[in-house]
Symmetry: C2
Subunit: 337 residues, 2 copies
């Protein structure tokens, strides 16, 4: 593995740590716009493909039947921080299907936002499945099952119809056979499938443009991506990079993180899809990589936006005293135009 250094962490005048990784950008016709590192090797996309996992919810008519608006759809594609608004909306989605948090198979944890977590602790709250960052996605799974007359017990299992529907959609969209050989278990207990990184970029270019998709699938994908861009707080949360990126240029950037240093993104107006992974799984590296890549892609079309994205890709590091000690920044290979 000799992927290039794409992110540097400095202290004083020296580079203290380095992140290698790979980045790939495709257009919807399958042309490679950018490729750094071994982009044809597989990756577990983890939560970066939640839009694909939410397709059955929309395509089945469940979302419409339950009256879900853009917030609910955004939450069904979210890795949210477990803030009160997220947990309340996930509970409301479940209630539409006559269910409550007991039906959720994602496991429990505290809010991922430290201030919210401390507020929960002060209020003597406890970790619950509604606070799990995947609760909106799981609520969507359960709503799809209930609306479709599928018994929801065991909905996280590989052989359950919910996971079969997701697997079929994902295999078709990524043009990749998905079976046990490329399957792992995700943090929220559902199957996750390793897919070549470049196919994820191509998939997102197609999702953002509709190119080559059946009309119903194109409509469902557009609905979910537009909902996420319209309600970015419900895709992530306070001070989260996905939310920040989508707030920066409303309707023009779609971005979704995945665990272990993955990001998928799309620029609908340019017809581009992006997929990337930091080799070591670091979130800080993936965040800088996605912001720097977006800046590079917008450079010709919108200099102002590119400059704002460049700022997000270069972060000042402060210590516990507030003293500036270094920075997190894209390496030359990622920055070069």
């Amino acid at each position: 593995m000799h992927n290039p250094v794409l992110v540097e962490i400095t202290r004083g005048d020296l580079v203290e740590s380095r992140h290698t990784g790979r980045v790939v950008v495709f257009d919807a016709d399958g042309a490679t716009v950018l490729a750094l590192g071994a982009v044809d090797e597989p990756v577990f996309p983890r939560s970066a493909i939640k839009v694909l996992q939410a397709l059955p919810l929309v395509e089945s008519g469940a979302a419409e039947a339950y009256g879900f608006g853009q917030r609910e759809l955004a939450l069904s594609c979210a890795s949210h921080s477990g803030e009160p608004e997220h947990a309340e909306l996930a509970a409301a989605m479940l209630a539409k299907a006559g269910l409550d948090e007991a039906a959720l198979g994602c496991g429990s944890h505290w809010s991922l936002e430290p201030r919210v977590m401390r507020a929960q602790a002060r209020a003597h709250a406890h970790p619950t499945p509604l606070l799990n960052n995947c609760s909106g996605k799981h609520a969507g799974f359960l709503c799809f099952a209930c609306h479709s007359g599928i018994a929801h017990a065991g909905y996280v299992d590989y052989d359950h119809p919910v996971q079969q529907h997701i697997r079929d959609a994902m295999a078709e969209l990524t043009s990749t056979p998905l079976g046990h050989d490329v399957c792992g278990t995700d943090g929220c207990n559902i199957p996750t499938y390793a897919v070549p990184l470049d196919r994820l970029a191509h998939t997102y270019a197609r999702l953002a443009t509709g190119t080559g998709l059946a009309a119903e699938r194109a409509r469902a994908a557009r609905t979910l991506i537009e909902a996420s861009m319209a309600e970015p707080f419900f895709v992530a949360g306070t001070r989260r990079m996905c939310t920040t990126l989508m707030q920066l240029a409303p309707g023009r950037i779609y971005a979704k993180t995945g665990a272990e240093g993955v990001y998928c993104a799309a620029i609908p107006e340019l017809g581009l899809g992006i997929a990337l992974k930091a080799d070591d799984g670091a979130t800080r590296a993936a965040e800088i990589m996605v912001a720097a890549t977006l800046a590079r892609l917008f450079d010709a079309a919108d200099r102002d936006l590119a400059a704002k994205l460049d700022k997000l890709a270069q972060r000042t590091l402060k210590n516990w005293n507030g003293t500036i000690v270094g920075e997190e920044r894209p390496a030359d290979e990622l920055r070069a135009g």
Copy 2:
């Protein structure tokens, strides 16, 4: 930079993430026992050389004058988790010099142990300098200054006598000129100096054996290392790797982590010093690297201990539901004997 892959994170049957890094082991006479990666390149050792930073406290007679036992000495070399015992002992050290937490220049944060942090939040506590993981080290700096008749104001600054004493000791022990050109600011606001990784390994071999050191310095180093090994909870805390390693083989392993993926360690009975860094700065990688390296070094001398260390170097990963999803493990290059 093409350091080898030393740690792998798996999911299902696939490797999901990889950490490159470098590891070096020296004996006290300067012979290389193990070298993986570019071990002659510099590294900011960060908190991994707190023993060196605590030498003036002991050599000046301050520790003895204030009646400090092994717990206080361990805390003066600690990156502790801000648990109540740590904060109380740091306050007691300061009180010996007639000071309190207002004198600390390390900055404030919550306990780094999530359960303790939530308990603090429930008790409506706040971040304080005593909870800062470096508060024991800073208390040691202040005690050294007060005992030595040095005005303690500005003790974190490069030109303050406290930092000059530390810099002199570190330069001598690492045989490295230390000036502004290799200086950064650490998380707790004091200077940190980049030193070639192999010189840190050699330094720790000498600290653990006394080889080539003046008698007073050898005694001070042995006192601090023995105190850390005798009171490992006060060097780190609950569920922390430094504490676990030193509890596993009392008096036989010294280990100290530093931020951004650094570890220094020593095996006094084998006369060996270890220094390592995960290129990307990941703590999970550094922890596996140090446990795997210790296992490899003990393999001939103590098979049972080596087996226990191997277990620490290979961790099962569970998701929020408690399902086993993968593992963190040393790569073949690190494991090979």
